[in-house]
Symmetry: C2
Subunit: 672 residues, 2 copies
């Protein structure tokens, strides 16, 4: 069966791998990106960007200072804005995402927050008058904006934000102020240097009364000079583990006055005389969060796919050591430990992207629903995306590091592309809701779901299984040599049992503490580790089910390889969660041994398709940004070409040596 | 009981924490660093460096380019060399290690490899004549050297090194040559820019016959100009995830001739006429490896301690959210999830450092032994340090990231110091023997040990328990409310059972494959994941036993807090390895539930001592290099002062904006 990526001049080991492919890589790629058309559009964009001088990198980012990286990115951003429509359909979010990935990369760019947060919050929260004034200017990039919510002292707990917006009836203005050091806005992307406007979350005060957090449009910099306006202190918060091309910023206000109409008043309002009107739909804003998290699930799967591509291709090219005495040096992909490190990451990347696709389409359904005035889908979607955000980001991070370490020493070099990838990706564990908090949100929803089930109410999509009875212990027995689809279903039911049981036990622990006299809240704090454990199991079940649904609806040409991949995924999950399978005796040791045996068989089964499975992610060399992961496998020569560009190689004798080490040695020689 | 670190002006939440300390922090610190004297010497060094202008940082490394960082480090290095003896006892490795940590940091410096690899290999392998010529010059730093072994294409598998040293009888020279691109030396520290000499590992060829890898002293750069010598290509390999202050290098030879006497001929020899004499003790070189790995165990524990210190102090200072409705915002250290993330890392850091101390003293014993002509201790020490190197480096890495993420957004900033720490520490999973390979070495030794046990031979230190019978299943039952030291022993015996069982089962799997017709080697490749699993369990048992031995020999003043810490350590290990405890029915679900309950109790028990336990690591603010981990807890103001120094804040309007974003916005405005 055809792997589409064999080219003359490729590393022969990679060509050999591609020739053992048993499926049509195009078919899998199309499935992964939604359709053949979408796949082809991706390819067109990739090709255009690759040959476009506006997006060329005269010096690789790895060898530039932050300031110079940002400058190079700003240059590309301007070209992107000016020429976007000729490069892709700018109204198609999938195409735009790919274009930005190709043209700019994953470390951030000056308009990231403008499009993802500034514009959506204006659309969603500005009243008609303000929207009419500002949105056209923002849409046409006459101004650049961001969204400033997080403060130095408060991220997760929004209700405690310290920045104040005090209404002054006399002048019909709000006075925006930063009362303490910890009240400084801290972290918002593109805030430090790029944006001249921001939507700023402040505590609203009217007549000395604290109303709570609301959003205000504030101009930060002069439109002409780009200098900060009077009363505004703004700057970059410094280097980070990742996103160093973004100017995450700080911001403080010294009694800055803005007109009343710059409050975002689509929902809550303050009238000229200071009368406050409450918003009607206070939960509507959850929709945006759900949307962002759904997107994260997909993109973090995509980042894990990057790492898996690099590790798999490099492991096919790298030869080291022997399995048989006297045999040739083997491709390191032949070692069981290497397969065990990498193949599950391939499976997980697929699982995450498939889950992301499902959740995105659920979100689209929700939007249809809300247009009809209903919001029934939201709570379930909110709960599962919270859990997924947490599980996927952490799982992807661990996977990326396993892939990186599987590349040995070269994985440690920036030439592998993986250090930067990890730095960017791991941020997802923290932003958009800290992972431990996210899991608790899922747990609270599960708790309600069980209560509803007890009351005979029907349960939504992600939690419906909570009302199912467990079919009986030891359900894994007798699967050997049986029907693979039956095995999959039995394992999925086992995972359902695990999630139900963990949740039930955590609930009982909670109730026990309450009965023993603790308040509900304190008792909750005593069981959160167990609650989060249950949430993880629930979320991992959801991912397995989403992968399974995708498998069942996949075309026959890729059904077989996806079945193998799904088997690996399930067996790996079971072994990884064996503790939970065993704890209540639902499974016994023999069954775990069986699952391990199956897992090791899966590794062998997938071996001939490993390279083709990562080829099907179809990430271009430019997206991979990795000497090790190149499609052509010509790693070693390129490694040398890459290293020669190191800033330390600009001179043969480094200034540090000239100034310090050479004089030191000379001095020591002259002493004798 | 006194925590020694309360000072006026400290963050009141940290002072409050220090006042609840139940032990003498000095006593624990002294125990951790070997003695009161050692502790006091550490303090003296810390104080001297803190106030010494030679070691001041006019600009923090975080805001410098690599070239400038290296220059700043070279400056400090020269001061260190010139003034070392006034700062510490330079013959005491512990003091030197601390001095380098304080004065220079952990990211590498120009003499790192000179002291750790170049000089030791000359001492160990140069014959008398070469030693007399070169060692005095190296000792007095008239030259700087490194050790060049790893090549682009071969790291782990030394026998396949490609660099050749061909003996030319006529001229009595070796011709050193790099025959292929992948043969380039790649990675050696300080090779790129600093060293003018190197010990180079080459394949020795005599009369067309390949003899195998041997070491040669090669001059790389002119002593006067520091320019590379003819035939030598040398440079820096570029930026990495960590160690960016080190000039890891590449090196290629174009038929470079060196005198015969520059071969390191203490063991193997080549006579003028080309006669080759084999080395006598081929295993002696393992000693150095063991030494380096023993040191790594301690230092990686120390790095985890850095992260635990930062996370614990910051979590005491940070207030966010409420546990009780209407209550005040709580210190985030009060959340169970936060304790569950951080406290086990404190316990593990102690466990690693205690284990490191034990292994170091075993190594000292081995040196005494070898002086008497025996080497019986070596195989056991080699096996356990291989396992420990693998388990400790990976466990520390996961722990550092948990600590970093527990600091929320601020942990993601370089201001936390943790991104750099992770970058440096994670390298340990790869260098000095790739972790997967290390675990297999341990497994092979365990296999032999069981064989010896079967033959009635007595077993060495780390594997003696392999010959013990398991005392009976369900040994954990009935521990509730019992004697804590009895509980510890029962858990340790349980871990012994787990390790024995996992190893036995992996062996059986191996034999089964051999019986089914596979070669031994291929069969091994089919069971390495299981073998490595067994090695990890064995190694974790060793760490628990080492911690326990330290506990039993600790003074009564710290016995109680160490007992609490050890309990947490054991319970966490058991829950983390519950899969293995449950699999064969040795424990049941009820016992795991019991262990979890104990674990959550431990978190509460340790809470009042958490800050004091990390204070006892006694890492100075300079070592921590973290705005979040400062001893005084004054985090928020310093965060702002730190960020203001960002290179992006040198101008209010960034060149990138001036050049690209401002014109873009102006153009868009003018269009209307």
């Amino acid at each position: 069966m055809p792997n589409q990526w064999i080219r003359p001049g490729d590393n022969p080991d990679l060509t050999k791998e591609r020739k053992t492919c048993t499926f049509d890589t195009d078919e899998l790629t199309a499935n992964l990106y939604g359709s053949r058309h979408a796949m082809e559009r991706r390819r067109e964009i990739t090709e255009k960007v690759a040959t476009d001088p506006d997006f060329a990198n005269p010096i690789l980012h790895e060898f530039l200072t932050r300031e110079k990286r940002i400058e190079a990115t700003a240059k590309k951003t301007r070209a992107l804005v000016q020429r976007g429509p000729e490069l892709c359909d700018v109204t198609n979010p999938g195409e735009m995402w790919h274009l930005v990935n190709e043209a700019i990369g994953i470390e951030g760019y000056p308009l990231g927050l403008h499009y993802v947060m500034f514009l959506p919050s204006l659309y969603g929260q500005a009243d008609e008058e303000l929207a009419a004034e500002i949105i056209p200017r923002a849409m046409t990039l006459q101004i650049i904006g961001t969204y400033a919510q997080t403060e130095m002292g408060h991220g997760t707990n929004l209700r405690e934000l310290e920045t104040t917006a005090t209404y002054d009836k006399k002048t019909q203005e709000f006075v925006i102020h930063t009362p303490t050091r910890s009240a400084m806005k801290w972290w918002p992307g593109n805030l430090g240097k790029m944006s001249n406007y921001a939507v700023v979350a402040c505590q609203l005060y009217i007549d000395g009364k604290k109303i709570g957090p609301h959003n205000f449009l504030v101009q930060l910099r002069c439109e002409k000079t780009h200098q900060p306006l009077p009363g505004i202190t703004v700057g970059d918060i410094g280097p980070k583990i990742g996103y160093n091309t973004a100017d995450n910023g700080y911001l403080a206000f010294d009694n800055v006055r803005i007109p009343r109409k710059r409050m975002l008043m689509k929902h809550a309002k303050v009238s000229p005389d200071g009368t406050y009107t409450h918003p009607i739909h206070s939960k509507l804003s959850y929709g945006t969060m759900v949307h962002v998290r759904a997107h994260m699930i997909y993109t973090h799967g995509h980042m894990l796919a990057t790492a898996a591509t690099v590790a798999t291709r490099y492991s096919a090219v790298r030869r080291q050591g022997r399995i048989e005495q006297g045999g040739p040096e083997v491709q390191i992909l032949d070692y069981q430990t290497q397969q065990h490190r990498i193949f599950p990451q391939i499976a997980r990347a697929y699982a995450m992207m498939f889950t992301g696709l499902e959740v995105k389409s659920l979100y689209a359904k929700y939007l249809e629903e809300i247009a009809k005035g209903q919001a029934d889908l939201l709570p379930d979607l909110h709960a599962i995306t919270s859990g997924l955000k947490s599980v996927v980001t952490h799982m992807a991070a661990l996977g990326i590091e396993q892939c990186r370490m599987s590349c040995g020493g070269h994985g440690y070099s920036d030439a592998s592309g993986l250090p930067k990838l990890y730095g960017v990706q791991i941020g997802g564990c923290t932003y958009e809701g800290e992972n431990m908090v996210m899991l608790q949100q899922t747990a609270r929803y599960l708790m309600k779901a069980v209560k509803w089930a007890g009351q005979g109410k029907s349960l939504s999509h992600s939690v419906a299984y909570m009302a199912k009875p467990t079919i009986g212990k030891k359900s894994l027995i007798g699967m050997e040599g049986g029907d693979i689809s039956r095995e999959h279903e039995v394992i999925l039911e086992t995972l359902e049992h695990v999630s139900r049981r963990l949740y039930t036990e955590a609930s009982q622990l909670w109730e026990k503490r309450i009965k023993a006299g603790e308040t509900k809240e304190r008792a909750w704090n005593g069981v959160t580790v167990e609650m989060n454990r249950a949430s993880r199991a629930h979320t991992r079940l959801f991912m397995a089910r989403a992968f399974h649904r995708r498998l069942l609806s996949s075309p026959s040409s890729i059904r077989s390889v996806l079945t193998d991949l799904f088997s690996l995924y399930l067996h790996y999950e079971c072994v990884d969660m064996a503790h939970h399978l065993l704890e209540d005796g639902h499974c016994n040791g023999g069954q775990i041994q069986y699952l391990k045996k199956r897992l090791y068989e899966d590794l062998t089964t997938l071996r001939p398709n490993a390279v083709s499975l990562v080829d099907s992610f179809e990430q271009s060399d430019r997206e991979l940004n990795s000497v090790l992961g190149r499609r052509d496998g010509n790693v070693y020569e390129e490694l040398y070409q890459w290293a020669k560009k190191s800033e330390l190689n600009y001179t043969d004798v480094l200034p540090a040596v000239e100034k310090y080490m050479k004089p030191m040695m000379e001095e020591n020689r002259s002493k004798l």
